[in-house]
């Protein structure tokens, strides 16, 4: 295939989350604009992603509860060369680990801010970006 043909190829689509068994409430919550976390009914520990047992006390009773949606940037990177071709037109973009107020760390994008202004410790809040009819992605932006 000649190079010029590659250029007109349709850009691959961004991946949608594969919904793991047990994570359905998380994605249903996101679609309604709520960030839900699993919480152990025995010891109160929050966890993300979902699991059958609490990694702290091994309790198997849990509830899905609404999180505050607030947190701080624990660490972040700026993707400047798209490793995933579907993201080629987005570079540079920020992938961050946000430390949620409830404790769990969550991988996400931080948007709505110049890349140069993002820093560790930056207070952020969740918003939901519609990715398809059935999926909304929790993302974060400065408070």
């Amino acid at each position: 295939m000649a190079d010029k043909d590659v250029a007109v190829e349709q850009q691959p689509r961004k991946a949608l989350p594969f919904i793991q068994p047990g994570m359905e409430p998380y994605w249903e919550g996101a679609l309604k604009g709520e960030l839900l976390l699993q919480r152990c009914q025995a010891c109160g520990q929050y966890r993300h992603p979902a699991s059958e047992v609490c990694p702290k006390c091994l309790g198997s009773e849990q509830a899905w509860v609404a999180a505050s949606g607030l947190g701080t940037v624990y660490s972040f990177v700026i993707v400047r060369q798209a490793l995933d071709k579907a993201w080629a037109s987005e570079v540079p973009y920020c992938v961050a680990v946000v430390a949620l107020q409830e404790g769990p760390h969550l991988l996400t994008n931080v948007t709505g801010i110049d890349m140069e202004d993002i820093s560790v410790g930056l207070p952020v809040q969740v918003f939901f970006e519609r990715a398809s009819e059935n999926i909304a992605l929790p993302k974060f932006t400065p408070v």
């Binding site: 961004k14 989350p17 990177v77 700026i78 060369q81 995933d84 993201w87 992938v95 760390h105």
Partner: protein, 379 residues
Amino acid sequence: MSTGCAVVGIGESRIGKVPGATPEGLRLEAAVAAVRDIGGDKQRIDGVIARQPRRNPQPNYSATMAEKLGLEPAYINDISLSGSGPVAMLMNAVAAINAGLCTTVLCIAGDAGWASRGQPARGGLTEPGAELRSPYGADGAPVMYAMSARRHMHEYGTTSRQFGAVAVACRKHASLNPSAMLREPITIEDHQSSRWIVEPLRLLDCSQPSDGAGAFIVAAGERAKDFPSPPVSVLGMGSECRFGEATHAQDLTASAAKNASRRAFEMAGLTPADVDLAELYDCFTPVVITALEAYGFCKQGEGGAFVEDGRIELGGELPVNTHGGLLSQAHVGGMLHITEAVVQLRHEAGARQVQNAQVAAVSGQCGETGIHATLLFGR
């Protein structure tokens, strides 16, 4: 104190860019070289451990390797850990020997990372947690290693130039290694002007897909003297698992390397001051810095300063990755960190020989820094 076992044979395949290479072909090439290194009598081998290939992992893979080599071993085992797999294979071999399950174990790993690039995998290991990463454009090994690196920079003031010192040292050593892929020396300025991949990682902070395989043969101490090459003793071993992937990890700078290395030093009855050279897993430059801190070669947070001024280059205080490492020799998953340590302790490393080397540390690492394994070898 020691494990009572030694590495008695090593082998390497062709390394770097090997057009048409397959994982099986490269592994068999390395295995045959290792058998030749013990004098050619394959019947002395009664154990086989193999790391599964990344792109087409199969059950009972060590049995397939044994069959292709015409062996009928008493003990086999498959290891599926990635970058800590080679060290884990050696630990497993020592454990099997000391449990009386076998006496002489061949360990094999390697992949055709360059030759198979772009080819569809027949089936492959998927990354854990990928469903929560891909939608955020976070696929690819550099992302979470860059995430840990950023956190280290934030907590300790580590700089990109200091990452560069690791790249420069590895390249300098590769320039002395005929099998290395990347042999043209580089400077800190070359590193600083290389493009960002995932900031704070630049192109020269990253290892690249390579072809190659390595093999080594472990034997019980009393038998080790009966092989033609001088045995290299396994003095200490240790490992630690803190997490399998970094995405949700609570602490990205508390490295699993700390406890892994402490256990190895305790087993060997040695301290970091006894180590003459270190072959440290280096998929990306920052993990060398964090390993140096965790092992106690310097204090936590001072790894950035430690790697400067040629301290980790040949002739420096602690030569690191004397073969060029994953960064400049080739990414063979850490197998060649083990074979290089053995070559160094046999005093057969030629132009890149660490003078009078007596003790070498080797690290394996995966799980985006969450899984670490340490070996201490002595001659």
